[in-house]
């Protein structure tokens, strides 16, 4: 009996110590990790921006790729199919990725941002799991989806969190790592 009591006390102490030493993540958190994946900047001229960023960071000038609608999850802007395209370039820093985005026309959150606010930091991105369910949970909290789409093996959703968080969020899901 005494031995059982001792075991219970030890178990409770371990629970208390663990609770205090590990950063808390509430179970109903919408973003279930605390690692920011990307900061993305919308620019008018990616040729100029990628060279200037390379100079400031002392890095090689990165290649440019084209983001376009993909059959696995065709691009939608505010719920309507969109032919939006953009030029992208990435700098892989130690702890995060800087993404440069030059919109190439078509209805998109990138073009809307450039037209209304000019060049600037468009969003911050987090990796998530279950992106479609998360879109609905964000919408229920007053943060609707501005644009979504995908690529071979992955999906993205831009969440309009301007009113709630003061910025746009991007959710990214890599199906291969699920």
């Amino acid at each position: 009996m005494k031995r059982n009591l001792s075991l219970i006390i030890i178990a409770v102490l371990i629970c208390l110590l663990t609770t205090n030493s590990v950063p808390t993540m509430k179970a109903d958190a919408l973003i279930q990790n605390h690692k920011m994946a990307q900061v993305a900047i919308v620019v008018k001229d990616i040729e100029k921006a990628r060279k200037n960023w390379a100079m400031v960071l002392g890095m090689d000038v990165p290649e440019v790729s084209i983001a376009k609608s993909h059959p696995s999850r065709p691009t939608k802007y505010k719920g309507t199919p969109s032919s939006a395209e953009a030029k992208l370039a990435f700098f892989n820093l130690e702890n995060i990725q800087i993404e440069l985005i030059e919109p190439l026309g078509g209805n998109s959150t990138w073009q809307e941002f450039l037209d209304t606010k000019g060049e600037g930091i468009h969003h911050i991105a987090f990796m998530v799991k279950g992106i479609d369910g998360l879109e609905r949970r964000f919408e229920m909290q007053g943060m609707p989806t501005d644009q979504n789409g995908g690529w071979e093996g992955g999906a993205y959703s831009y969440i309009n969190a301007m009113q709630m968080l003061g910025c746009e969020l991007e959710l990214l899901e890599n199906y291969q790592s699920n």
Copy 2:
């Protein structure tokens, strides 16, 4: 002679392998590290924003502090002394810090951003060494200082890199870690 030649070939091979496996940082880089320290969001209402961010991330609501001019490096906005103040709140993620900023009046880059663009992501920050010399190097590359100031043991400079990089940069120096 043959042995010397072999040693030279081995040394050249080691150099080539090392060059390819370590990320390059050019000697004249303006930012001498590849770790982003902060992403900062200018908001109208920090009370609302800090609660909403805490809900989305499943974290505790952080405390609010006041940023104001400090005698060690009095606040200047575009070269002129400024009485600008702001409320600040910080979320410490695993790899980066999210900073919320509510301007409290006075001439500042925060207030100018809010007045011209509305709420949004104001800057990204990097830790640096030798902040005053760096301000001059950025200015020589077409990126003047918008605002600078300090706190007990540290200094900050907001670099207007809108034309060159598409965003505002913040340089942060912690004198104690020098």
